[in-house]
Symmetry: C2
Subunit: 355 residues, 2 copies
Amino acid sequence: MGNWRDNLRRVVPYTPGEQPQQKNVVKLNTNENPYPPAPGVKKLLSEMDDKRMRLYPDPAARKLVNAIADYYNVDENMVFVGVGSDDVIAMCFLTFFNSEKPILFPDISYSFYSVWADLFKVKYECPKLNEKFELVKEDYYKENGGIIFPNPNAPTSSAVSLEFVEDIVKHNSDSIVIIDEAYVDFGAESALELTRKYENLLVVQTYSKSRSMAGMRIGYAIGNAELIKALNDVKYSFNSYTLNYPSIELGVAAIKDESYFKETVAKIIKTREAAKVRLSELGFSYPDSKANFLFVTHKNKYAGDIFDYLKSKNIYVRYFKKEGIDNYLRITVGTDEQMEILYKELENYLNKKES
Amino acid sequence: MGNWRDNLRRVVPYTPGEQPQQKNVVKLNTNENPYPPAPGVKKLLSEMDDKRMRLYPDPAARKLVNAIADYYNVDENMVFVGVGSDDVIAMCFLTFFNSEKPILFPDISYSFYSVWADLFKVKYECPKLNEKFELVKEDYYKENGGIIFPNPNAPTSSAVSLEFVEDIVKHNSDSIVIIDEAYVDFGAESALELTRKYENLLVVQTYSKSRSMAGMRIGYAIGNAELIKALNDVKYSFNSYTLNYPSIELGVAAIKDESYFKETVAKIIKTREAAKVRLSELGFSYPDSKANFLFVTHKNKYAGDIFDYLKSKNIYVRYFKKEGIDNYLRITVGTDEQMEILYKELENYLNKKES
C-alpha cells in the first residue's frame, strides 16, 4: 500500500529569484530588462485575434524561426525555438548529453546546469573558475561528454573572447559545445558566426533579457542543421506544441525592431558603466561586467547583510548563499532612476553607525 | 572527429496532425474546438499590459492555479499547471514512472504515451483493447510501474464509467494511475472527485478542447498534494517559468466563464449526436463517442481512400496508418455548417461511380 512513493523522481528543486507581489519595489534581482518590449509588440497585442486561439499553434513555429533566421542571416534549418532558453537548454541536455563521460561546466555558473544534469542523470564535472572568476581554457581540454558555459558567465558577469570560445570548440571536436549567450547582447562577442564553421557548436540566446520579454518565454538555439534536427526530434517527442500563439506572433514583432533593441541595450550599457563608477566610490569591487547585471563585493560589509538591508527598503537584489560567492551580490542594471534609489540606500547603509 | 554524434539521443519523433496553411479548409483533423474562446478572453487580450512582459511570469502561476482550484472546488495544492496537457503528462512520466516494472497503457490510445516512454526510457506494456475498442479492466490488475489511459480514449472516442476507473485505482494502490481527461467535458464522467479519496490517482485536463484554447497551451493535473508537489519539484528543476504571462491571465478569464463553456460544449455534443445519425445513414459505424470527435469506419469503402478524397476537397480529417485502426477515420466535430460540407462530400464520394 502506498508503495507508489518508491517510484517518484526525487529532485532538489531550483529556487528562482523572488517575484515580490507588492508594488513600489525596486526589482534588481532577476536580471529583467527595465524597459518595455518594442512598440510593435504592444501594437500587435492589441490586434491579436482571439478566434485564432482555438487552433493549435504551428508546431514548427515557422514564422518565428524564419524571423530569427532572417535577423541573424542564417538558414532556417539552423534555428530551434523553445519556451525560454531554459526549455531550449533542457532539451539540449536531453538531446546531446548522453555520453558515459562527464560533461563540463564551471563551478560557479548558471545554477540550472547541475539541476538538469541531476534530473536527466548526466554525469558532470565542474572546473573551478580562477580567483578572478575567469574560466580557465585548459580545463576544458580533457575528455568529456559535452561542454556548456554562459558567455558572459552568470552570476559573475564577465565575458570571454571569441578566440577563447573557438579554442574550446576546436579542442573538442568529439563533443558538443554549447555557449549560453543569454546576456551576450550587453557587450560580449557572440559565437554565432562560428556555428557555420564548427558543426559541434551550438549557441543559445533568449528574449528574456535584451528583448524585454521574460514574461513571454522565448528562447532559441542556433547551430548546424544536424544539431537542430536532433533537437527538434526530441522536442516533438516531448511536446509538439510548445510556443503558444502570442509568443510566436509577438516574438516576430520584437525581433524586427532592431533600432529599439539597439537603443534600449545602449541605455542599459550606459547605466551599467555609470554604476561601475558609483559602486567603486561606495567601496564595491566586481569583475568587469559585460552583462545587464553586476557581481559586487564590498571591502568591509558582508553581502548577506547588505542584501537584508536593501530588502527591508524594498530593493531586491540577488544573494547566493553558496561557497566562494557568499560575499557577493548580483545586482541587475535597472533604469537610472532605480539605480539612484539603490545608491542612496547603499550610502545610507554604509554611513550608518553600527547600532 | 565528429564523434559527438555518438551521444545524440535518437528518437522517433511524433507526427502531429497537419496544420494546413491555406484558407477555406474544413479542419476536422486535430480535435480543436470550432468555437472561439470565452468573450472574457478577447476583452482581456485587448487590455493586456505589454509593459508587464519584461518581467518573468509568476513561476507558480498562482492566479491560474487558484482559478482552477476554485472552479473545481479543490485545494490549491492539489493543482499543477503546464504548457498544455502534453507538458503536464511528460512531467508525469518523468516524475512518477521510475519503476523497473513496466507501465501500462492501451495498445490503441494517445500515440504520445509510447513516445514519452521511449524518450525517458520507461518500460511499458500495452494491453489490447477488445474488439469493440473497449479497455478490459482486468488487464490492469497485474503488477506494473504505473498506469495511464485517456477517458474518453483517443482516437477511439468511447468512455469508461467512474466505477471502472475506481476499480483500476483500487487494484493499484502501489502504482500511480493517471486518467487523461482531455475530452472528458464532452460527456464522460470525470474521476476528479476520486482524487480526494485515492492518493495514487491523478487526473489531467486541458484548455485545448472544451475551452477552445489549443493555441494558448494550458493543461493541468489535479491530485493529492504530495503528487502535485513532486510534479512541481520536477517542473522547477526543468524550467521554472513555463506558462507565459498571456497564458496565465487568459487562462483565468476562460475558466471563470462557466455559462459560455457549458453552452459551447452543449453545441458540440448536439452536433456530434446529429453526426452519429447522419454518418450511420451514409454507411459508417463507430464506437459511441463521448468526445468531440468520431472514430468511424465505412461498410465498403477504405478509410485511406475516403481520407484522400476529403483532403482533395480541402476537408481535413485524421487517418492513422496503424495496424488495427487503418480502416478508421477520426473526425473532429466542427460547426453544423462544417459538418454539412463534410456530409455533402461524403455523399458525393460514396455515390460516385468507380472510374
